[in-house]
Symmetry: C2
Subunit: 340 residues, 2 copies
Amino acid sequence: MEEITKVVVDAMGGDNAPGEIIRGAMDAIAKRSDIHVILVGQEEVIRRELAGYTYNEEQVEVVNATEVIETAEPPVMAIRKKKDSSIVVGMRLVREKKADAFVSAGSSGAILAGGQLLVGRIKGVERPPLAPLIPTEKGFSLLIDCGANVDARPSHLVQFAKMGSIYMEHVMGVKNPSVRIVNIGAEEEKGNALVKETMPLLKECSDINFAGSIEAREIPHGQADVVVCEAFVGNVILKLYEGVGAVLFSKIKSGMMSSLRSKIGALLVKPALKDTLKTFDASEYGGAPLLGLNGLVVKTHGSSKAKEVCNSILQCSTFRRQRINEKIRACIQGEVADSE
Amino acid sequence: MEEITKVVVDAMGGDNAPGEIIRGAMDAIAKRSDIHVILVGQEEVIRRELAGYTYNEEQVEVVNATEVIETAEPPVMAIRKKKDSSIVVGMRLVREKKADAFVSAGSSGAILAGGQLLVGRIKGVERPPLAPLIPTEKGFSLLIDCGANVDARPSHLVQFAKMGSIYMEHVMGVKNPSVRIVNIGAEEEKGNALVKETMPLLKECSDINFAGSIEAREIPHGQADVVVCEAFVGNVILKLYEGVGAVLFSKIKSGMMSSLRSKIGALLVKPALKDTLKTFDASEYGGAPLLGLNGLVVKTHGSSKAKEVCNSILQCSTFRRQRINEKIRACIQGEVADSE
């Protein structure tokens, strides 16, 4: 018998909710009969949207949640007060084992807080990292952690390295992924206190393919499959990637539009350029998992369209089929046992 | 009478030494009769190179230094052992007040270490920050600190903000420059311990135009004239800027070369694109000053060509004429006096 993956989808989260979110969910169930989606949000709105699709009704469930958490709300407070929000209701379904995973394009802060408070950590996991995939020259890398875990300790970074490695190997299919820690120079003596303390611990890990440090310049070149750093640095990397890309594209566009000659050239260049730059688009790979939880929480971009939502749902299915949480549990608890 | 600025130029440092370095020095003295350069390095090599130029001999001095510090050498050790290297000899000239400034494209580590150990800090300055200019959509911003000062304290960041503000206003001519601190979200409660402790201190500074925090995404858009952060984060920002830019350009190039149609388009687009992207090139503005020293030390890119070297030398002249160190001294010591 086919094993079903049940994915709760936050129908109210993100700039393009509910339209693109529901379209993404419909695309996912059309692709895979072993995926069931539970759409959480204002039932009336969801039903109205669903009326436009033809789909296998067995694969879709709607759960009503009347409240919506806004991006600007203080996350922990929002999670505690808005008990009938799509994020809280959806995460509860995962905690109660009524679903395997939760996907949302809503408030990052609320999703991170909810993951810890509502879904809960796997025993032994000190902090759950948020691990987006970032595009590189060669394909993509996992950047771990970009979450709310600032001021991390060396033991946290070691767990991030292990969980990231498991995810890249078994969900993304990268064999024996290389793991590197972000540093400010290749020499051993360089780095801040955190990196210097973490480095020898990572070297001791026999269960990951640790390859030393990586300078930020090398990240876009794809010189590591798993890029380990604490959340403040990870957030800077993720956001700067977006910012530099956006500014360069706008510069290139205005350069191409600056003369008649270049405008004609732009028309000729456009299709080829579009194809190439698509390979530098992270949404191809789906959202960012929050790892180390009793279940799976995936955060997609606030501006997610159907494709990213669909890919994120498919990702949840791979996550379950590959028994990622069992692997994380064994790895982390093995580690805990070792140090006793 | 004209006031002369004496700039020591490390003729041996960088990938393009001595050719491009000496060319840059020649360009600078041709532009400005109030600049004298002291070329430090292997005298024979320098003289041979100089033979190819016609220049005002009163503006040029050659000081022999037989040793060269390599990039891979441990910096502090190199500074201590290679007493006859161009970096050590050159910095000594600044310390002994025989020159106003030192410009080098050599080993970053040795320049940072030498600045502290040989040139020395202005009284009251806790740590001298390295402050490169980075290109933005609007022009450029000063990123302070990108130096070796990892694990900084809040008081250091406050001094960085003040020194950076003085430099941007009086050397780069940006009126009332806005100062922001790098953070991972706009909300007050976000950030790591360092940022949370520094924020209220910056708000209290009446001598800078502090405008709150900045997310990394906004840096390339030029949303702050002075971008304050500790050195680890600054280094990540600087290097990632280069990395993302390099990968995007190579993607664009290969996209344009992928079909005949796009190749023709590329030919038409090229001149306009080149002009636009020039505005996104940091070397236009010269090197990165190491601020807060008894003199001025400027680090240019390892790959510097004549233009960057020339611009860095001109920068030194503005630095002296604008009495930047007197301004920094007054600002920092005023601050010290206040807190007594």
